[in-house]
């Protein structure tokens, strides 16, 4: 038993041919966030604090689909959502439909700690943000040229995509072959077995205004209890109907599966190409399975293991970062 942390920057059809100029910044961000999270755990910050600070960092990076760098709705706007859960108390907080809040995950935490509710959305959530005095910004802060481009491509192809383009016959490949950004999330456990999970996203490219995905739905994209903490990523609609995050914990508790077994079971039963997750258990174990081409991910455990990856281990995985 010891502390452990895992984080992700999204699962999807990340092509092996991803150019290095698209890979490197993301790997660097994953590494940086992992270091921040590990340092915080070593400094005895609570897992709840740790997952929040890591996700804030991921939100602030334009590399991933959360906060700055969020994908756009069909109207060209951002609607961000996030969720945080404390495995110790099962308290949770969620927000959806944010358009000006710089760190959705922190607002989710405030919903948890400063309201009698769990979930606030759209105008009500924005109003709460103002009451709480959290940092807000104009939409230009969040919108990147890459995402404007992705929206354009999606509209041309007349479909909604999970940020990762499935190659379509005859479709013009997106600029530099890069549609590959996704939801972000972090799970952590401390040496006492206290668990927490946090997830944040801009959602689906070209989504309908008002569309809510799995991220803010407790038990779908985010979950933590005394067994494990889980953050999922992929096709929101599939994750919701499969109650992915909750099921990992339920399999451990009700069927006695180990963390790895439970996570693998859930991933296998979800349609291929649709889901990935990161999870840690009360015992300090980590697992990061996915049934997509790849998942931006990183993890570290107290016994010194660490990993940063995109594709399944062993496949074109020339990690430049030695294990610590």
């Amino acid at each position: 038993m010891g502390w452990a942390i895992a984080l992700h920057g999204g699962a999807g059809d990340i092509p092996l041919s991803l150019p290095v100029e698209r890979r490197a910044p993301r790997e660097a961000t994953l590494r940086h966030c992992l270091e921040l999270g590990v340092a915080a755990l070593k400094a005895n910050r609570s897992p709840l604090d740790v997952v929040e600070l890591v996700v804030r960092e991921l939100e602030n990076s334009p590399c991933f689909n959360a906060g700055k760098g969020s994908v756009l709705t069909t109207n060209g706007t951002v609607e961000m959502e996030a969720c945080i859960m404390d495995g110790n108390t099962k308290k949770c907080g969620a927000v959806s439909g944010l358009s000006t809040v710089v760190n959705a995950i922190s607002l989710a935490r405030l919903v948890m700690e400063r309201t009698p509710h769990i979930y606030l959305a759209f105008d009500g959530a924005e109003a709460f943000a103002r009451e709480q005095g959290v940092e807000t910004a104009h939409s230009s802060h969040f919108i990147t040229t890459e995402n404007v481009e992705r929206l354009k491509n999606a509209k041309e192809a007349k479909r909604v995509q999970i940020d990762y383009t499935q190659p379509i016959k005859g479709a013009i490949p997106s600029t530099k072959g890069d549609s590959q950004i996704g939801t972000v999330g972090c799970v952590a456990v401390d040496g006492h077995g206290i668990l927490a999970s946090a997830t944040s996203t801009g959602g689906l490219v070209n989504k309908m205004v008002g569309r809510i995905g799995d991220t803010p739905i407790i038990g779908a994209g985010t979950y933590a209890n005394s067994y494990c903490a889980v953050s999922a990523t992929g096709k929101g609609e599939s994750i919701i109907q499969a109650t992915v995050a909750r099921d990992v914990a339920a399999l451990m508790e009700y069927k006695g599966l180990s963390l790895k077994e439970a996570a693998a079971y859930v991933i296998e039963r979800t349609p291929k190409g649709n889901v990935g997750l990161v999870a840690v258990s009360a015992n300090g174990e980590v697992t990061m399975p996915f049934n997509t081409t790849g998942m931006f991910r990183a993890c570290a455990t107290e016994d010194g293991y660490s990993e940063i990856g995109i594709w399944p281990s062993g496949i074109n995985d020339d990690l430049e970062y030695p294990n610590k």
């Binding site: 309201t115 759209f122 709460f128 205004v209 109907q241 109650t243 909750r246 009700y254």
Partner: protein, 330 residues
């Protein structure tokens, strides 16, 4: 072939002082809705159609807190939400923040059937409603005198309260435990037992003759809630869930239901722990709610019906193919 079964609820957490005529009124509505559902099942409609049809009936009737008669936000408006899940394929649809849609459960169904998504909310959901041509009315349609006076009393008590149908002189007298509802000015810690009675959310679960299960839940939410607050009813796995094994619809303290992912937990106990439906329901209510107060109805693929609640009463009823029908409150 399986014997079909249907269960309905009109909310958990009933004031023991509820006047007899109100109780009778509620029973009549539940019974009527059961008959509507039973007729649909006898006619061979699939479970998902039946739950939608029955919840529409419950939404339209102002006796229960959904659609007309909904609890009001702090701003004296109505924000309704609903979800539906078809266990056959585990498809689902949900809506939140509706202000003009006459039947939220039907819009949830359309999200499931006619959009690429599972959940739409607020302006986007209202926009979709117009695109789909569903019946819309002015927000004032949903507001009743009774809900306005309940809101006034809730504000006076400075607390979130469950929806009462009782025109009682004061909130405190109607609700044991509401003494604990006094809260610090504006600042509430989640998890404090601030009130104990459930809003009269409505729901229906059905298993049809093919053994397919479906569930639907609809509500106006908590009296005096913050605008934008989403509760358990539209959240798949919390207020509503259906799979190959069973279908569940919950009611009660939304926040407690969410934290315990109550609907999914019942199904997970059946699926992963091998419990019977009633065992799973009892376990979930007893072990999963902590200090939360809630109730639920469930049916299984084998035609069983189960209820569970840790509140004072739950408006509920069921009917099975063999002709059995019952409606109860306590």
């Amino acid at each position: 072939m399986v014997g079909w079964a249907i269960a309905v609820h009109g909310g958990a957490g009933v004031d023991p002082g509820l006047p007899v005529e109100r109780q009778e009124e509620a029973r009549r509505v539940l019974e009527r809705c059961l008959r509507v559902g039973a007729a649909g099942l006898r006619a061979g409609l699939p479970a998902v159609d039946v739950v939608e049809m029955v919840v529409r009936e419950l939404e339209t009737d102002p006796v229960f807190n959904s659609g007309r008669g909904s609890a009001l936000t702090r701003k004296s408006t109505v924000e309704m939400e609903a979800s539906i899940m078809d266990g056959h394929g585990r498809r689902c649809g949900a809506v939140s923040g509706l202000t003009t849609v006459k039947n939220p459960v039907s819009l949830a169904r359309l999200v499931m059937d006619r959009s690429p998504h599972s959940y739409l909310a607020f302006d986007g959901a209202e926009e979709f409603a117009r695109e789909q041509g569903v019946e819309v009315v002015d927000n004032s349609y949903f507001i009743t005198e009774e809900s306005m006076s309940m809101l006034k009393r809730a504000k006076e008590a400075n607390s979130i309260m469950y929806d009462y149908r009782v025109p009682a002189p004061g909130v405190d007298s109607a609700s044991p435990g509401l003494e604990g509802a006094k809260v610090e000015n504006g600042l509430l810690m989640n998890g404090l037992p601030i009130s104990v009675y459930a809003p009269e959310t409505v729901g229906c679960v059905v298993v049809d003759s093919n053994g397919w299960c479906a569930a639907a839940t609809s509500t106006g939410g908590l009296m005096n809630k913050m605008s934008g607050r989403i509760g358990d009813s539209p959240l798949i796995g919390s207020g509503t869930y259906a799979c190959g094994d069973c279908a569940v619809s919950c009611t009660g303290e939304g926040e407690a239901i969410i934290r315990s992912t109550l609907a999914r937990d019942v199904a997970a106990l059946v699926e992963y722990k091998g419990l019977s439906l009633q065992e799973a329901v009892d376990y979930a209510i007893k072990e999963r709610l902590d200090e939360g107060m809630a109730g639920l109805i469930a049916v299984s693929r084998n035609g069983e019906v189960a209820y569970g609640f840790n509140t004072q009463g739950m408006f509920r009823g069921c009917a099975t193919e063999d002709g059995f029908m019952e409606v109860s409150i306590w």
